[in-house]
């Protein structure tokens, strides 16, 4: 996925990122996506991250500032993780719906503090780091899915229990799908040049 995005010329990437951001910010679409917990969590939030990723030109990953401050992509992945962790809290979703200031914070922080750092750090991370992150993503998605299914109470004020359970099931499916995708990539092929840089 990351390799495919990097093949897109910079100006097109930025245009796509800006366009995606504007579409997601459109009031009608925003309302539709936020009405349902599944759409909110699994469509709007990831696409905001993707918009941020696209806003960064591929060359940015190798610029001097990034190379100095983000060795092996550690600072970038930590920034992205910490920012993303906040938006994983059910209460954050409630706040984003209830309070405009949180909604604005979401639309700024997810592209800028998750998407942009990921876009900068991911191509520069050693394969060992990427593998570790992916293994954690899979197991944590599985655990988050279980948490939503096992929670004895509604975790979000604005969403009903059935939506919560649907999110739990979809997170488990997503963990399975990512595992299969990683296995498929590893079985079908890998560029030796990329691995040697690790």
């Amino acid at each position: 996925m990351a390799e495919i995005l990097n093949l897109i010329p910079s100006f097109r990437r930025i245009a796509m990122g800006a366009g995606l951001f504007l579409v997601l910010a459109a009031p009608s679409l925003r309302e539709v996506l936020e009405q349902d917990m599944t759409r909110h969590m699994l469509i709007q939030l990831p696409f905001l991250v993707l918009a941020g990723w696209l806003l960064i030109p591929a060359a940015a990953a190798s610029c001097r500032f990034v190379v100095i401050w983000d060795r092996f992509g550690i600072a970038g992945i930590l920034t992205a993780n910490l920012a993303a962790a906040y938006w994983m809290l059910p209460r954050s979703l409630d706040n984003a719906i209830a309070l405009p200031v949180f909604e604005i914070a979401k639309f700024i922080s997810l592209p800028l503090l998750v998407g942009v750092p990921l876009g900068c750090c991911w191509p520069r991370m050693p394969m060992l780091g990427k593998g570790f992150v992916m293994a954690n993503v899979v197991s944590m998605l599985g655990i988050a899915g279980w948490l939503y299914l096992a929670a004895p109470v509604r975790v979000c004020v604005f969403y009903l229990s059935d939506q919560q359970e649907a999110v739990g099931r979809l997170l488990l499916c997503l963990a399975g799908a990512i595992s299969l995708a990683v296995l498929f990539c590893a079985f079908v092929g890998f560029r030796p040049s990329a691995a040697r840089t690790a």
């Binding site: 060992l128 293994a135 599985g142 655990i143 279980w146 096992a150 595992s179 030796p192 691995a195 690790a198």
Partner: protein
């Protein structure tokens, strides 16, 4: 395609391998001592308080799985390093996480009193009935998680190195030769390492997930998981992880027997097919651990039985047959290492037989909770996996000990191993239950035979690993 070893391990890498073997030897002996103590208690020769017995059983089970994996990892890393460039600091980090994790487990079990066996079945860690406190369960599970994290990094590094040189896992498994006409398949070490990294990464991800779920349950008991799903996840992880230790250790057979005999171990189509087949089957066979769980879907249990019949057999057959063919009329000059490698293949082959018997549903329903099962896994781990790693230890150290000393060490270890495993199997046949601290009078006799045999195993192992500790520096220098 790389088909011949072309890399030489650095001094740092060799030191790291020796450090692994030193930890392997030390922890192995400690765990063996606990095993001996339990058999002595069952034989009414010493008296352990029941809680100490179950704490010892938990440490012994968990520790032996860990030590087998550390020994296997040392073998895999050393020989894989002949073909691909591995990262020494990742290898060392894995040893450090193992050591810290093992210390946490020892502390949680012997100080905190945690005694839920290696299986830590949900919800037992959180429902101790006053036997241990919450912190002990958390430290034990945390130790396991730490060890798993180290092994995940270890396998990710082998994946990086293998993919960097071979391009894809299919090429590293030899599929172009298996399904196409590529005349140069990858060496057995690459094939085995690839299989291990695939299955163990999957197992570790499931294991980490269920450990975190159990930890969350300890802190917030309202968050529960279906106990049967948790058991499936635990046994998938445990089954894959322990089998992978054998697949790691067998690499030493592929690498050293050709050195001893001067005959190369060139993978052919049956060899490659066997490893590919077992890659899938070892992950599908785990339901044979749950044949007594009536809540399991019947189709899964039937699948577990059928797949268990063929899961490990392909690799075992090609390895055992290959080993026999390589040794037959080769003029091999037997020494301690060669003997241990050969007994390792025997132990693996012999240990699979009771496993297949127990994987039959109708047999399992009466045999699974007896000592038959410890008989099976002690055979293929003690006389199989451990013997192979001890063969590697002997080869690495090339001790100056006399032939008589080596022969004594070998035969004491083998005689003790056979005695111990046969006493387990015989007791299982009689229907003596496993995991019992106290025995009825009529069970004590065979427990004493087991205790005597276990003592021989400990003596033999001290004689086998002792020289490694005495000449650690020399061991680092010679290979």
């Amino acid at each position: 395609m790389v088909t011949h070893p072309d890399l030489v391990p650095t001094l740092g890498a060799r030191r790291a391998v020796i450090a692994y073997l030193a930890v392997f030897g030390a922890v192995l002996l400690l765990m063996m001592a606990l095993g001996l103590l339990m058999r002595l208690n069952q034989g009414a020769l010493v008296t352990l308080p029941p809680e100490i017995f179950y704490q010892s059983m938990t440490v012994h089970g968990t520790g032996m799985v860990g030590v087998a994996s550390i020994g296997g990892a040392a073998v895999l890393w050393y020989f894989l390093g002949r073909y691909v460039r591995l990262t020494t600091w990742v290898f060392v980090l894995n040893l450090l996480t193992f050591t810290v994790g093992a210390a946490m487990i020892l502390f949680a079990d012997f100080v905190g009193g945690f005694a839920a066996a290696w299986t830590f079945l949900f919800p037992l860690p959180a429902k101790a009935g006053g036997q241990w406190e919450q912190w002990a369960a958390m430290v034990h599970l945390g130790g396991l998680l730490l060890i798993g994290t180290g092994f995940l990094l270890f396998h990710l590094d082998t994946a990086r190195a293998i993919l960097g040189r071979y391009g894809s896992l299919t090429r590293a498994l030899g599929w172009p030769s298996l399904f196409g006409n590529d005349p140069e398949p990858p060496p057995p070490t690459i094939v085995a390492s690839t299989m291990v990294l695939i299955v163990n990464t999957m197992g570790l991800v499931f294991g980490a997930s269920v450990l975190v779920i159990s930890l969350i349950n300890l802190v917030v008991p309202q968050f529960t998981i279906d106990a049967l799903i948790a058991k499936n996840m635990i046994y998938f992880f445990g089954h894959v992880f322990i089998n992978a230790t054998i697949y790691m250790a067998v690499i030493v057979v592929y690498e050293l027997l050709p050195e001893y005999t001067g005959r190369p171990w060139k993978p052919n189509r049956p060899f490659l097919a066997a490893w590919t087949l077992s890659t899938v089957l070892v992950m599908v066979a785990y339901p044979h651990h749950l044949l007594m769980d009536f809540g399991m879907p019947h189709w899964l249990l039937i699948l577990g039985q059928i797949v268990s019949y063929v899961s490990g057999l392909p690799i075992l057959v090609v390895t055992a047959f290959g080993a026999l063919m390589i040794v037959y009329r080769s003029g091999l000059r037997w020494d301690l290492a060669a003997g241990l490698l050969f007994i390792g293949v025997f132990g693996w082959a012999a240990g699979v037989v009771p496993a297949i018997i127990d994987a039959t549903i109708i047999v399992n329903s009466v045999m699974h909770n007896t000592l038959w099962v410890p008989g099976h896994f002690h055979t293929y781990l003690l006389l199989g996996q451990v013997a192979m790693v001890l063969g590697f230890v002997a080869w690495t150290g090339k001790t100056r000990a006399s032939q008589l000393f080596n022969a004594l060490a070998f035969w004491i270890f083998v005689a003790g191993g056979i005695g111990l495993t046969q006493s387990f199997l015989y007791a299982g046949r009689l229907g003596i239950p496993r995991r019992f601290a106290e025995y009825l009078p009529e069970w004590i006799g065979q427990a004493r035979i087991g205790a005597f045999s276990a003592a021989l195993v400990v003596i033999g192992t001290v004689m086998l690993v002792g020289p490694l500790f005495i000449r650690l520096n020399r061991a680092m220098a010679v290979r």
